[in-house]
């Protein structure tokens, strides 16, 4: 809480003196390739790509990767933007599934747009296909259905431009919740909390995880995760480490960890930065079935990433990432559901053998409940002070109520979904179990893996 408050304070102070308009047209500013994988997005693809093309920045390109969609995504793109198949000489610098064609528009207005049509291979594979085509210094990996504010690139590019003593290798952004909000010209103009309890819970989670958690990690340069929906990377370094690993469902976290590992192994000072400004919004699942699948996937992704890179655990060679970030993620993110259930089982055992102290149980429960409320309330108040997006008093009251009931109603479900994630991982859901069990001995092993497969 203290670390995140300090980081937020510094960010806001810096923003006071930043002229972001300058970046838009400055020749010094780096170019950005926006990579947006699309699968069966026919209904909204044209609108989404138009909003991407209207971002306020001088030097950027938009690369939409149609990942073997079964609907009319490609047709809509071709019609909407006058796209034509080109004779692009494609280099499989990073391995990916077969590229069927690369399209450019004959209309100069859409000159920034490139469409890649490929065989289905998943999000990571699609991103790798896009990386091979990207020609700019930085690349932004986004979800095509995310809403980006017009100034998002200028804000996200700034950390890359500011640092001199360390190389900024990646910058993460906040994913705000657009459910029930008014959106105009690519920006949320009026914030409202979602109607459902699950949606409101995710608002609290957004405050906790993004505004507090990631800001604090950024302060100590221990951030191990950048959201796959909105993250900026140095293209050269991503290629150097072999791009995304398509055989894990947590490809976003896995890439960041691998990039960090690479820099540690090379002995180069670096930083993974984070911008807390509200620049990107998405619709979060309010249906329990969808949310459970999402959390299941997140847990499997976390386990897979930690398993792949377990060499760094408590390894001084990997600095703070090995000594603090990895153990933290291992205990408080990966093992948290298991530890909670073990605690429950232990309590039941104590009751059954008669060695149960009701007093201590209640006291401990009260402590943990108060801790939960403390952290959540602080994060909400933090949001109020930093951005004050949720102004409506009724909305705030609902959020406070959500904080109070979350430990009883929603958290057990989250624990259960996490456990299911563990179980599915053990069953080998997702593939490449052996590879994940073996892990990457070095960060560059991913490139060697591909050469073995391709040979």
């Amino acid at each position: 809480m203290v670390l995140s408050a300090l980081e937020m304070r510094d960010q806001r102070r810096k923003n006071r003196f930043a002229d972001y308009q300058d970046i838009i047209t400055s020749p010094i500013a780096p170019g950005v390739s926006i990579l947006a994988p699309a699968f069966n997005e026919g209904a909204t693809i044209v609108q989404n790509v138009k909003s991407l093309l209207s971002l306020h920045y001088g030097k950027f390109e938009v690369i939409v990767i149609n990942d073997g969609s079964k609907d009319d995504t490609l047709a809509k793109l071709c019609d909407g933007f006058e796209m034509e198949l080109t004779s692009y000489a494609y280099d499989y610098e990073i391995a990916c599934n077969k590229i069927r064609g690369i399209y450019k528009s004959r209309n100069r207005s859409f000159n920034r747009l490139i469409v890649i049509d490929k065989e289905n291979g998943g999000k990571a594979d699609a991103l790798n296909a896009g990386i091979n085509v990207a020609s700019m210094e930085l690349m932004a990996c986004i979800d095509v259905d995310c809403i980006l504010s017009s100034g998002s690139i200028t804000r996200m590019v700034r950390p890359f431009m500011e640092e001199t003593n360390r190389k900024v290798i990646a910058v993460g952004g906040v994913i705000g919740i657009a459910n029930n909000c008014d959106v105009q010209d690519g920006t949320v103009t009026k914030y409202r909390i979602p109607d459902s309890l699950l949606g409101r819970f995710q608002v609290i989670e957004y405050c906790r995880a993004f505004l507090m958690g990631r800001m604090a990690w950024t302060r100590i340069n221990g951030l191990m995760l950048i959201s796959g929906a909105f993250g900026f990377f140095r293209r050269e370094l991503v290629v150097e480490v072999g791009g995304y690993f398509p055989k894990t469902v947590g490809e976003d976290m896995e890439l960041v960890v691998r990039m960090r590992r690479y820099m540690e192994e090379q002995g180069q000072p670096y930083k993974v930065s984070f911008v807390p400004d509200p620049l990107c919004w998405t619709e979060v699942p309010e249906d329990e079935a969808v949310l459970s699948r999402q959390r299941n996937r997140w847990m499997r992704g976390t386990i897979e990433t930690l398993q792949l890179h377990r060499v760094i655990k408590m390894n001084l060679k990997y600095g703070l990432m090995g000594m603090i970030s990895y153990p933290y993620w291992s205990i408080f993110e990966k093992m948290a559901p298991v530890l909670e259930v073990m605690g429950l089982i232990y309590t039941i055992v104590l009751i059954s053998i008669g060695d149960f102290s009701a007093f201590y149980f209640v006291a401990l429960f009260v402590v943990l409940y108060l801790l939960s409320i403390l952290v959540s309330s602080f994060s909400l108040l933090y949001e109020q002070i930093a951005f004050n997006n949720y102004k409506d008093k009724k909305d705030l009251n609902k959020l406070i109520l959500t904080i109070l009931i979350e430990p009883f109603y929603i958290h057990p479900k989250v624990v259960y979904w996490g456990l299911r994630g563990h179980w599915d991982f053990i069953k080998g859901k997702g593939g490449w179990g052996q590879m994940i069990r073996t892990g990457f001995k070095k960060s560059e092993d991913k490139k060697n893996l591909e050469s073995t497969v391709n040979s």
Binding site: R16, E162, T164, L381
Partner: protein
């Protein structure tokens, strides 16, 4: 028996009236005679195992006996009272119904319900005292130095009886303390945040209020007064626009300064000069200079911004001191400010900067230098001599971006002596400017081991190369494994010598070469 009883009673009376009775640890080592036994027992509370009964020989007393009396029916000569656990209770009960000097009763000792004589009682008591099983009733501790041994004889009393059981259980205490701590921290943090937010809201409201009070008078001054009039405004006139009671408030001054600066950015000509005059008349320039010595970096930077916007050239000396500040924000703004207000026309302060120059700083300085170079000769070439590589690279970029063709030759002269990173930047500059340079620079770079340098020189060759660079390109092409580099080389070759290029493609059936060729020929891919 009777003598014995008389003595007991007299002694008891004496003891009852004594003010202090002290039995120190040393004074009672053992009881010897019946007197000492009686004296000792008279002061004690219950002695475990020892009880007392009164034996009466006079039948008249029988009717006064309470419960637990035992009456010997055989001879009707004596009666035994109920059991007493304390000797003092025996005498107190006896006094209720017999004259004090009556000698028709005697005390019977019982040990574990068995009647015993005083000798056995004495032995029992000595034994218990030696083992520490009974304590000595004392009101004054004479020997204060032997607390431990005395404490050994102090009867244990559970603290739970006195309500301190809570603290005696460590776990309960710790958990309760933790809970209380959490509650206190939670409430404190929330209170702090609520107060903070409330203050922030209040400040925002005040800002809006002050802004409304500022806009009107400021517009009046700018439109109704000339620059000279503003400079010579009296205090009364000034306070008629901005009340004195508001001008002393820091927040009002802050809002007014912000409004002046924002207007300065949008206005031109005479209005700008009026704003600067007003800024000085309000003595805000002093505030700006004072900010430079603040310990908070954001205040220093705010001061620098004000100095920059208001062209406070008299602050140049103070600003120069901040050029090499360890704080990134301060030194960035200091250099930007100095570029603007400096009377001297060279960039020596930038050249001599020791910290690496970030792209963010470069972007800011470029904006200022671009504006200034039309008015002053900035001697950009001085940056080439900097000991800081990032400054030198910035110099080469400036040549490219500002189109300073006149400085290209200087760069060419330095080319062989600089690092590969600088060569890459220089080649990029030569390529963009489009001025032909000594082809040896390009051909030598094409033969280096650094792929980035080779790529940059291949690109440059396509724009400003000649026959010798073309030859060099053909030489390195077969050994180039990188697809992207081959694409670049072929593109440059196509530009330098289309005929030879086309012939080459015709005779080469390699897939990637044909693909690259198709790519280069596709009109949609000209800028990809």
């Amino acid at each position: 028996m009777e003598d014995f009883q008389a003595k007991i009673i007299i002694l008891f009376i004496l003891l009852m009236h004594s003010s202090q009775v002290c039995f120190s640890q040393d004074s009672i080592r053992s009881l010897t005679d019946s007197s000492s036994v009686m004296i000792f027992l008279a002061e004690q509370e219950e002695v475990p195992g020892l009880a007392y009964r009164l034996v009466f020989t006079s039948p008249d007393q029988i009717k006064n006996f309470g419960a637990d009396s035992i009456i010997d029916l055989t001879n009707n000569e004596f009666a035994i009272s109920r059991r007493f656990d304390r000797l003092k209770d025996v005498f107190a009960w006896k006094n209720n119904f017999t004259p004090q000097d009556s000698i028709d009763s005697e005390i019977q000792f019982t040990l574990y319900e068995q009647p015993v004589n005083w000798q056995k009682t004495r032995d029992f008591l000595n034994d218990a005292l030696a083992k520490g099983e009974i304590s000595i009733s004392s009101q004054v501790i004479e020997n204060g130095s032997d607390l431990i041994s005395m404490a050994h004889h102090v009867p244990f009393q559970s603290s739970k009886k006195n309500g301190f059981g809570f603290f005696s259980d460590l776990k309960i205490f710790m958990i309760t303390a933790i809970i209380v701590l959490f509650v206190v921290i939670t409430i404190s943090m929330m209170l702090f945040m609520i107060i903070f937010k409330s203050n922030k809201n209040k400040k925002e409201r005040l800002r809006l209020e002050y802004d409304e009070k500022i806009v009107g008078p400021l517009s009046e001054i700018l439109f109704d007064r000339s620059r000279e009039e503003i400079k010579s405004l009296s205090s009364e006139d000034l306070h008629s626009y901005f009340p004195a009671e508001l001008l002393i408030k820091p927040l009002f001054k802050e809002v007014l300064i912000e409004r002046v600066l924002s207007l300065n950015k949008t206005m031109k000509g005479d209005f700008k000069q009026k704003l600067k005059a007003l800024f000085k008349r309000l003595e805000f320039d002093k505030l700006s200079k004072e900010s430079l010595s603040s310990l908070k970096w954001d205040r220093v930077v705010a001061g620098l911004v004000q100095i920059n916007e208001m062209d406070l050239t008299e602050a140049e000396t103070e600003v120069k001191k901040l050029v090499n500040s360890s704080n990134f924000q301060i030194r960035s703004q200091a250099v930007a400010t100095l570029l603007n207000i400096s009377k001297s026309v060279d960039l020596s302060f930038l050249r001599d900067q020791t910290f690496p120059l970030s792209r963010w700083q470069q972007m800011n300085y470029l904006r200022i230098i671009r504006y200034l170079q039309s008015q002053k000769d900035l001697h950009l070439e001085s940056l080439f001599e900097s000991e800081n590589q990032s400054i030198r690279l910035f110099g080469y970029k400036l040549v490219r971006i500002l189109g300073r063709v006149d400085l290209v030759q200087l760069m060419v002269d330095k080319f062989d002596k600089v690092s590969e990173t600088e060569k890459i930047e220089m080649l990029y500059t030569f390529e963009v400017i489009g001025v032909p340079v000594d082809s040896k620079l390009i051909t030598d770079s094409l033969r280096s081991d650094n792929e980035k340098l080779i790529r940059r020189s291949a690109l440059a060759a396509g724009q400003i190369g000649d026959e010798s660079t073309e030859v060099a390109l053909w030489e390195i092409l077969p050994n180039t494994t990188s697809f992207q580099l081959r694409k670049t080389i072929l593109k440059s070759l196509k530009s330098l010598n289309p005929t030879k290029y086309n012939s080459f493609i015709k005779v080469n059936s390699l897939t990637d070469l044909q693909e690259i060729n198709s790519h280069l020929l596709d009109p949609l891919l000209q800028d990809v």
